[in-house]
């Protein structure tokens, strides 16, 4: 019973790492910046597969988000500028995103999103790792 409870806990807090991301090139203060974290092994960019997700009011320029208390491992982050604050990444009739998007490792979209391998950042047992996500509109 005790063993099962221990197993259910996330990797020990004592050895947790942190992933910080600088979202750059934010065009304006409209709506929200939405940031989603995916762990290796989950389906990258698939709804419901996020390890964690957060949003804040948009501010032009650069905003920094941090995900503390992460188990060591490889993670990827996707960001979009939800300018109309509808909670969704809007796209046009041809399926091309019409709001600013960015990815950890400054990975770039190229007629489609980057792969997890392109965006993956390794978080160690301890300490903070920082990465960048310049938005492109």
């Amino acid at each position: 019973m005790l063993a099962a409870a221990l197993l259910a806990l996330p990797a020990t807090v004592a050895s947790a790492g942190e992933l910080a991301i600088a979202v750059e090139n934010i065009g304006n203060s409209e709506g929200h910046l939405r940031v989603a974290l995916y762990r290796e092994g989950s389906q990258f960019l698939k709804q419901g597969q996020e390890e964690a997700a957060t949003f804040r009011n948009a501010a032009p320029g650069t905003m920094v988000f941090a995900f503390p208390d992460l188990a060591a491992g490889r993670y990827g982050i996707a960001v979009f500028h939800d300018a109309n604050a509808n909670g969704e990444l809007d796209s046009n009739l041809l399926g091309i995103p019409t709001e600013g998007i960015g990815f950890s490792n400054a990975a770039k979209a190229n007629f489609g999103p980057p792969t997890f391998a392109d965006v993956a950042v390794t978080v160690p047992d301890e300490g903070t790792v920082t990465t960048r996500a310049p938005l492109t509109y």
Binding site: D90, N92, L93, L94, G95, I96, P97, T98, I101, K108, A109, N110, F111, T136, Y137
Partner: protein
């Protein structure tokens, strides 16, 4: 312990990481620099390649004191003649691969009571501004692949470099792979991408919209990656009337289209998009003549009503005009290429300092019978290559017999292989009224400006066009009496500089 060699390698890697240039990107950049040298070498041997020299400065202007005018600019001809075309052929010494790659130069001749001034500027698109800030090319182009460049949106690459129109009080620079670009009508500066509706943001919008009799603007965009052609109907006040997505897969390259009183017509050639076929947008188009072509005829008021007529395989950039005759047969005129070799060969060769090869277009008059499903045509000009057919701008979709166009006639007696003759062709009478320019003048698109109030296709009015005199290193505006080209221009205005050869323009009466 770090030895010196490891240290040097780390430095090099760190340096590259800072600027974000990968090894492959360096190879591409080197190829672009090499091309710039090839061009300069070729220019010495073939001085007419001046037409593809990159514009040295992002803005040009000349007032009436600096513009030499021979003859007399008709005082009744008041307004703006605006043109567009790729002119930023090099980005900090990196030369693009294809004529259609470079940043657009929009320029305007303003004619007022017989006086003239000229202004031009490279469109300061987000793409242009980002590259100016980075001091190097950052983005892929129509036929230049830059390893490591990303495509987050079509407009991130948009150089706005093919045409320019006035509609609903707005001045619009047009590419065809992304949105229309609204310009400041006075300064010609970039204002914004035009978004007709939130769901249409960033979608392709053609360089050849067709202006209907009531001021409605019809346009389209091709999206080979999605297997679609997008049809736009824009109200006379600039708002969106409607968008229809047409399933056309595989999607051919489509540069121009046609309207009549009742129909919108797409000529679908067998030059088709295949995502896997190559690296650049141009390379992804595969010539498949065995597949033949098709005319897609769409009801203007109900785009779900469509007919298809099978066509022989050919490539076409430009149409003159289309209309329906009394029996419902669609008549149109166009410049027909046997294949797209001019685009895949000649327009790369001139960028690399080479003489162009490729097959030019013949001029045809066609009949398309939607009821019978038949197509027939006659060849009106063959031998000299033809291009840039233009008609009375107020009669799009209605009958016109007169089309002004350019000819490249090997027997014209000029010193270059490019367009040297401007011709008004009257299909009804069979008369061709032509003027051969000077031996070192390259003719650019000629447009018809009807006389004030002339709604008919009488031929009254003017023909305006620019020419590049590569020997003098000067661009000239020539104004002809539209009913008498062969007598020569009534006025020639010579700018104190040479501009790269452009593509399309239009006149907006004051």
């Amino acid at each position: 312990m770090i030895d010196r060699r490891t240290f040097m390698t780390s430095l090099a890697v760190a340096g590259l990481g800072l600027t974000g240039i990968s090894g492959a990107a360096l190879a591409d950049a080197n190829a672009m620099r090499h091309r710039a040298l090839n061009f300069q070498v070729g220019l010495r041997e073939r001085p007419w390649l001046l037409g593809w020299q990159t514009l040295a400065a992002p803005t040009v202007s000349a007032g009436s004191a600096e513009i030499e005018v021979e003859g007399r600019i008709p005082p009744a001809l008041n307004g703006d003649f605006c043109r567009n075309g790729p002119a930023g052929h090099e980005v900090f010494g990196h030369r693009y691969r294809h004529w259609f790659d470079g940043d657009g130069l929009v320029h305007r001749f303003r004619l007022a009571d017989g006086a003239i001034r000229h202004e031009g500027r490279i469109i300061d698109t987000p793409k242009w501004r980002a590259e100016q800030a980075a001091v190097r090319p950052l983005y892929d182009a129509f036929d230049t692949d830059l390893e490591g460049a990303s495509v987050s949106s079509l407009d991130s690459l948009n150089p706005g470099n093919i045409s320019i129109i006035h509609h609903a009080g707005r001045l619009l620079a047009l590419w065809e792979g992304g949105s229309a670009i609204e310009l400041d009508p006075e300064t010609l500066a970039f204002r914004d991408f035009v978004t007709l509706a939130p769901e249409a943001r960033g979608m392709p919008f053609a360089a050849h919209p067709r202006l209907d009799r009531d001021g409605t603007l019809w346009s389209f965009g091709t999206a080979g990656f999605a297997g679609k052609i997008v049809l736009y109907r824009v109200n006379p006040n600039g708002s969106l009337h409607g968008i229809h997505l047409l399933d056309v897969a595989p999607t051919p390259m489509v540069h121009d289209f046609l309207i009549t009183a009742r129909h919108v017509i797409f000529i679908l050639t067998p030059w088709r998009y295949d995502q896997a076929a190559g690296e650049t947008f141009l390379e992804k188009h595969v010539w498949q003549p065995q597949a033949g072509g098709q005319a897609l005829i769409i009801d203007k008021d109900d785009p779900s009503q469509r007919r298809i007529v099978e066509l022989p395989p050919f490539w076409v950039y430009h149409f003159g005009n289309a209309w329906e005759d009394a029996s419902g047969v669609i008549r149109f005129d166009y410049c027909r290429y046997a294949d797209p070799s001019m685009t895949t060969e000649a327009f790369r060769q001139v960028m690399n300092g080479e003489a162009p090869t490729g097959t030019g277009a013949s001029y045809r008059g066609a009949r398309l019978d939607p009821a019978k499903g038949t197509f027939s045509e006659s060849t009106l000009i063959d031998g000299p290559a033809t291009e840039f057919p233009r008609v009375h701008p107020g009669r799009i979709g209605r009958r016109t017999d007169r089309t002004v166009m350019l000819l490249a006639d090997p027997d014209a007696g000029v010193d270059h292989p490019l367009f040297a003759t401007t011709a008004m062709v009257d299909r009804e009478s069979g008369r061709i009224d032509a003027f051969v320019h000077g031996p070192t003048e390259i003719a650019e698109e000629a447009i018809l400006v009807p006389a004030d109030g002339d709604e008919t296709d009488s031929g009254a009015g003017w023909v305006l066009q620019t020419v590049l005199d590569y020997a003098a290193a000067r661009t000239r505006l020539k104004i002809f009496d539209a009913s008498d080209l062969s007598s020569g221009p009534v006025a020639v205005a010579t700018l104190p500089y040479a501009l790269p050869l452009g593509l399309h323009g239009n006149f907006m009466k004051a």
